[in-house]
């Protein structure tokens, strides 16, 4: 099957994004989940969880469509990758800004911890980077279809 690698990628990252999104939403309403998630650097942020779930849904839609052989299936992979990159960049910039504020304007004795950056939205984006490196050029060339 021509799409095997892409389907596997979409399936794996779709489930990961969806699962971490759900945990972030659950953590914002269930204190026990929040406590456990906090230890794993998973923030209790429902809106961020929603963004992760949307990315996951895009990936999973791509997996299903490619599995069915629908030509536009790869489009979902590409947009999922772009969303993953965009949200990863947002998480990185937010952490970076926090670091700058702590270092330059923080109260005495406050130290910025690099570990706070490692939220799912950030580290999941490394998968999106890998996906972009693998299929980005194919994407920017466009797709030929003959009717």
């Amino acid at each position: 099957m021509a799409f095997t690698g892409k389907i596997a990628f979409c399936g794996i990252f779709g489930i990961l994004y969806l699962a971490f999104g759900l945990v972030q939403i659950a953590a914002s309403v269930v204190p026990v989940v929040a406590e456990a998630a906090g230890q794993l650097q998973i923030p209790a942020d429902p809106a961020a969880g929603f963004a992760l779930m949307v990315t996951g849904a895009v990936f999973l839609s791509g997996a299903v469509k490619m599995q069915k052989g629908i030509p536009e299936g790869p489009a979902f992979l590409y947009v999922g990758i772009l969303l993953g990159l965009a949200f990863g960049l947002i998480a990185f910039l937010a952490s970076g800004a926090q670091a700058v504020e702590t270092v330059f304007f923080g109260e005495e004795g406050t130290v910025w911890q690099a570990g706070t950056m490692l939220v799912p939205m950030f580290w999941l984006a490394f998968g999106a980077v890998a996906g972009f490196l693998a299929w980005g050029r194919e994407f920017t060339r466009g797709m030929d279809t003959v009717s």
Partner: protein
């Protein structure tokens, strides 16, 4: 003796029609065709042999349904002024979309010639279009043209003359299925009573237009002797459903003949097409839009933090310099409490505004906001507004003033009025400082989410209000939304920064103007009468605040907030500036955040209630002036103000009560 031929040049927008018009007539006509510009037909002349040919360039249109001014101009010219020949300019690289108009032109039965334009581009990418097959299936002469080089222009004129001289009848019948055909037969039969009308227009075409709910045709028929009989036939039919069914039939016809005409049509799905398949997806489109908006507000809040801290430190430094300057006490009070506390407090939030404006500029320049309007169309249509109404709402994220002015692109007066009335609920940049301050203080972990939630609440209230207006005071049906998506582009850094500056600098100017002026007034009110403690209940500000405080007490607001909200009518940022002055934010280098945190009256519930109230209450003074200008009515302006106040109060009251009930705190 020379003969005259009048030719109408029709076609979809952006098919190279104006280029072909210039190539034929030798003109240098620049024709704008974008929402908000009144589109007009343009004329040019050319001589060919014994013929004087007038070419009338019609506005670009996707169909002859006459929903908008453009379509109406084009349709009326063809049906009422009856040119000798209609030349439909077709984009050879996009036959499927362009042939829809062909099916409608063919139904009218006008002498028609097809100019297969942009043929060079189609051939270059490998398309194999058979003109002979096209002529055979459509029974319409087809000429290959390239407007940019003038290729095929003489052949086109030759075909036009031949068509005008021979006047072959090209009325084509599209089968719409048994059920619709039965109604068409009944209407055609009823129309026989109106000989004047049927001698002017083909009866079948009139029947088709009536079934598709064409208001102009309906008025013509209603005014004649066949009106009653036709109304009886149409009773019980659903024009929307029939229009969709008939459009499907037309596309069915196109799908059937397209593979015969274009034996090898290479469709390159560009990255733009690929992205559009997903971001305009029926189910994922709106969630993706919401997720991206959350990202925008998350960035706005988070990335601005160090800049805010820097400006705050600078203000603290100025404050400490003023404190030891040895200036008279009243001047120190003015500089510290009035200037730094008022204007300085607002300046702290300028980075947030600039970052939001940059993100909006990037989203707009990439072409994504056009998709956002498209994905919201279904929702907008469901509440009774055209998708076009969402564009002014998106513009309103920056500032409500251009957002309201952008409603000029909406054709229907009621659609436009509703869009104007709900625009103030869309959260503009001026309200951002209030959110950033209070979300940052009371919801530090989820500030971005809270701000995002407020923007979503603004959209929800705007949409809910539109639905309410549509179903009560402004009933009607919205026009369908047809929009060509611009290709995605990667915005350049200078362009994005320029757009950011254009929109963001307005807030800097306001800081130096109206906000400074109000800060001075509030400082004076907080300092007078002479001898009272600054910002105390005995000051003029305190007296005003206490007078209006009972009105806002049920929301949990004290007199300081009451004064801030009162002056916030002039500009929304002033709410922060006024609080800064009243809390003496600049004095002793103390920041407003600290003063608010130390105030026992403030808690998360009060903060959220205040943010909701600021989001929804009165449009600012400039927005109110624009509402008056655009509606031309004091009545609607007053309605906008009163409705906003009532909604703000009601929603804020619910938030306050629910918040206290759920948290047990303030």
């Amino acid at each position: 003796m020379r003969k005259s031929i009048r030719v109408a040049l029709a076609g979809n927008p952006n098919v190279g029609k104006s280029t072909l018009f210039n190539a034929i007539t030798g003109s240098h006509q620049h024709i704008g065709n974008w929402p908000g510009v009144t589109v007009e037909k343009k004329s040019g002349y050319v001589k060919k042999g014994e013929y004087d040919i007038e070419i009338v360039d019609l506005p670009g249109t996707y169909s002859l349904s006459a929903y908008s001014i453009d379509e109406e101009v084009a349709r009326n010219f063809i049906t009422d002024e009856k040119p000798d020949v209609v030349v439909q300019v077709i984009d050879a690289t996009n036959l499927e979309r362009n042939l829809y108009l062909t099916t409608q032109l063919a139904e009218i039965g006008v002498p028609l010639v097809i100019a297969l334009n942009l043929s060079d581009m189609a051939e270059k990418r490998g398309d194999a279009i058979s003109r002979q097959k096209m002529e055979e299936y459509l029974e319409i002469p087809v000429v290959r043209t390239v407007g940019s080089t003038g290729d095929g222009v003489q052949e086109l004129l030759h075909a036009v003359i031949n068509e005008a001289e021979t006047s072959p009848h090209h009325e084509h019948t599209i089968g719409y299925g048994d059920a619709i055909e039965a109604i068409i037969v009944k209407i055609v039969s009823a129309l026989e009573a109106d000989a004047a009308l049927t001698s002017q227009y083909p009866p079948r075409w009139l029947a088709v237009r009536l079934l598709e709910g064409d208001r102009a045709v309906r008025e013509k028929v209603d005014a004649g002797p066949a009106g009653e009989a036709v109304r009886a036939v149409l009773a019980g039919t659903d024009p929307d459903e029939l229009e969709a069914e008939m459009a499907d039939r037309r596309y069915g016809l196109i799908s059937a003949i397209l593979p015969q005409i274009c034996t090898l049509c290479v469709k390159k799905m560009s990255p733009s097409d690929l992205i559009d398949r997903v971001v305009t997806d029926r189910y994922l489109g709106i969630p993706i839009f919401l997720a991206l908006m959350w990202g925008a507000f998350q960035l706005t809040f988070a990335v601005a933090t160090p800049f805010m801290a820097g400006i705050e430190a600078l203000m603290g430094y100025f404050s400490s310099v003023v404190a030891v300057s040895g200036l008279p006490e009243w001047l120190i009070s003015f500089l510290d409490g009035g200037l730094i506390g008022g204007v300085g407090t607002v300046l702290i939030f300028v980075p947030n505004i600039f970052i939001l404006m940059l993100i909006l500029a990037v989203l707009e320049d990439t072409g994504y906001l056009a998709r956002a309007a498209f994905v919201m169309d279904r929702l907008m249509y469901a509440i009774g507004l055209p998708g076009k109404s969402f564009i002014p709402m998106l513009i309103g994220f920056g500032c409500n003033v251009p957002g309201i002015m952008a409603t000029r692109t909406i054709e229907d007066p009621k659609d436009r009025l509703i869009t104007i009335l709900v625009n103030p609920f869309i959260s503009c940049g001026a309200r951002l400082p209030v959110y950033v301050l209070f979300a940052g203080i009371f919801f530090p972990e989820n500030a971005g989410t809270v701000i995002f939630g407020l923007y979503v609440l603004g959209i929800a209230v705007a949409i809910g209000s539109a639905k309410l207006f549509r179903s009560t005071i402004l009933p009607g049906n919205p026009a369908p939304f047809l929009m060509e998506m611009p290709p995605y582009r990667l915005p350049t850094v200078p362009t994005a920064l320029l757009h950011m500056w254009d929109r963001g600098s307005m807030y800097l100017r306001k800081a130096g103007g109206v906000i400074f002026g109000i800060a001075v007034v509030v400082w004076a009110l907080a300092s007078l009468p002479l001898g009272v403690e600054y910002g105390s209940a005995e000051s003029l500000a305190g007296m005003i605040g206490h007078a209006i405080q009972p009105l806002v007490a049920p929301l949990g607001f004290d007199w300081k907030i009451a004064v801030a909200l009162l002056f916030g009518f002039l500009a929304k940022e002033v709410v922060i500036g006024s609080l800064g002055v009243l809390y003496g934010a600049g004095e002793d280098g103390g920041a407003l955040e600290g003063a608010i945190l130390a105030d026992p009256m403030f808690g998360p519930v009060t903060a959220l209630t205040l943010m909701v109230f600021v989001l929804l209450y009165l449009p600012c003074m400039v927005t109110m002036a624009v509402i008056k200008k655009e509606t031309g009515s004091w009545k609607w302006t007053a309605f906008s103000v009163l409705y906003g106040l009532v909604i703000a109060y009601a929603v804020a009251f619910i938030v306050a009560q629910a918040g206290r009930l759920l948290t047990g705190g303030i």
